[in-house]
């Protein structure tokens, strides 16, 4: 695979290193002269000097034949532009963009830049998973497929507590797929009784979160001890 990586920061440089290790052909573009010289000592011809939002720089890097363009500069506008140009001008089918400020994610989406990866968002998700402030945690969102998987801890005052799965009033378009109890997970049957303190995994259509929360953690759920 031929990969063009735009931006030689920590992310870009390490990506280049890993991809080269996996025998891919890589060109890394870095616009800061000093940074470029440092990287060049290691990557040699695999790094080029220049502004990756300039068309001739991209062309010099061979963007026309790139299988994948990765835009990981520290500037969200630049990353949007690079991916947009790669796709629409150079007909590169696969791009990956880094989102520096999660608030800018909406701009990436508006302009059809995807996947757009935000490290801040990923870490936030992990924090929510480790220390949920709210009862409901998103484990997986597939907006295009209109599907999500969530985890929720059953509170003692929940309608679902001490009830059999078949008696719990969950909306159409949702399904309990797993229960974590005392550190162990299992797939519940219709007659499995759900206890307070259980962590329940559900697959659901987007938009059903409120109905689910009402059944399993109506008062938001207490923050779990670390």
């Amino acid at each position: 695979m031929y990969v063009v990586i735009c931006g030689g920061g920590k992310v870009g440089w390490n990506l280049a290193r890993e991809l080269i290790e996996k025998d891919h052909e890589v060109t890394l573009i870095e616009q800061d002269r000093r940074r470029y010289l440092i990287i060049e000592e290691e990557l040699e011809h695999a790094v080029q000097y220049g502004d990756a939002t300039e068309l001739w720089i991209l062309e010099r890097a061979g963007i026309q034949r790139a299988d994948l363009v990765i835009a990981v500069t520290g500037d969200d506008e630049d990353n949007i532009l690079i991916c947009q140009i790669a796709k629409e001008k150079y007909l590169c089918e696969r791009t990956i963009a880094r989102v520096n400020n999660p608030r800018n994610l909406q701009h990436f989406e508006l302009l059809g830049i995807q996947p757009a990866v935000s490290a801040t968002d990923l870490i936030l998700r992990l924090i929510e998973h480790e220390v949920p402030q709210y009862g409901l945690v998103h484990l997986l969102d597939l907006p295009a497929e209109r599907l999500e998987i969530i985890e929720i801890e059953v509170t003692p005052d929940a309608p679902a507590a001490s009830r059999r799965v078949q008696d719990i009033d969950i909306p159409d378009g949702s399904l309990i797929i797993s229960v974590l109890r005392a550190g162990e997970g299992f797939v519940p049957k219709a007659d499995t009784v759900i206890h307070a303190g259980d962590e329940v995994l559900l697959v659901l259509d987007p938009g059903l979160e409120d109905a689910i929360t009402a059944q399993f953690a109506p008062n938001g759920g207490a923050p779990r001890a670390g």
Partner: protein, 144 residues
């Protein structure tokens, strides 16, 4: 000329001059810039302050949705992207077009190659560099 609402993002030399001209021509003008001091450029050479003359000024960065809304992007008839960053201008111009459906969107793009390509894609771009190149070529009697 019909009175329109012009939103100008980026109050540098270009943006502030265009803002003053548009206000003087009787249009409603709102200016957004991340630097509060850029307000001085709007006041300079004017008998009254920018606000007293009827202009609006908002401090905020161009990509910030809250700032764009505060500056009145939802009501804008004309959107001018004149920050000092080509890519910022190209991105916010597309936001103005695609998210807010603004009828007339103009972006300043210094790089002639990017200006030309985005113009082909249907974005109105103004490229000061291309003007300079053309003028120099004419002065030297070379080129087209």
């Amino acid at each position: 000329m019909r009175r329109v609402f012009v939103l100008i993002v980026g109050a540098g030399r270009v943006g502030s001059s265009v803002a003053k001209a548009a206000l003087a021509a009787g249009h409603e003008v709102s200016v957004l810039d991340e630097d509060p001091l850029s307000h001085e450029r709007l006041d300079s050479g004017q008998p009254t302050s920018w606000e007293d003359a009827g202009g609006r000024f908002t401090v905020g960065t161009a990509l910030e949705m809250d700032a764009l809304l505060e500056a009145g992007i939802e009501e804008a008839d004309v959107f001018v992207a004149s920050t000092n960053g080509d890519n910022t201008n190209l991105v916010i111009a597309q936001i103005a077009q695609k998210r807010f459906g603004i009828g007339r969107v103009i972006a300043r793009v210094l790089d002639p190659a990017r200006a030309a390509w985005y113009a082909e894609q249907g974005l109105e771009t103004i490229c000061p560099t291309q003007f300079a190149i053309t003028e120099f070529e004419r002065a030297l009697g070379v080129g087209g």
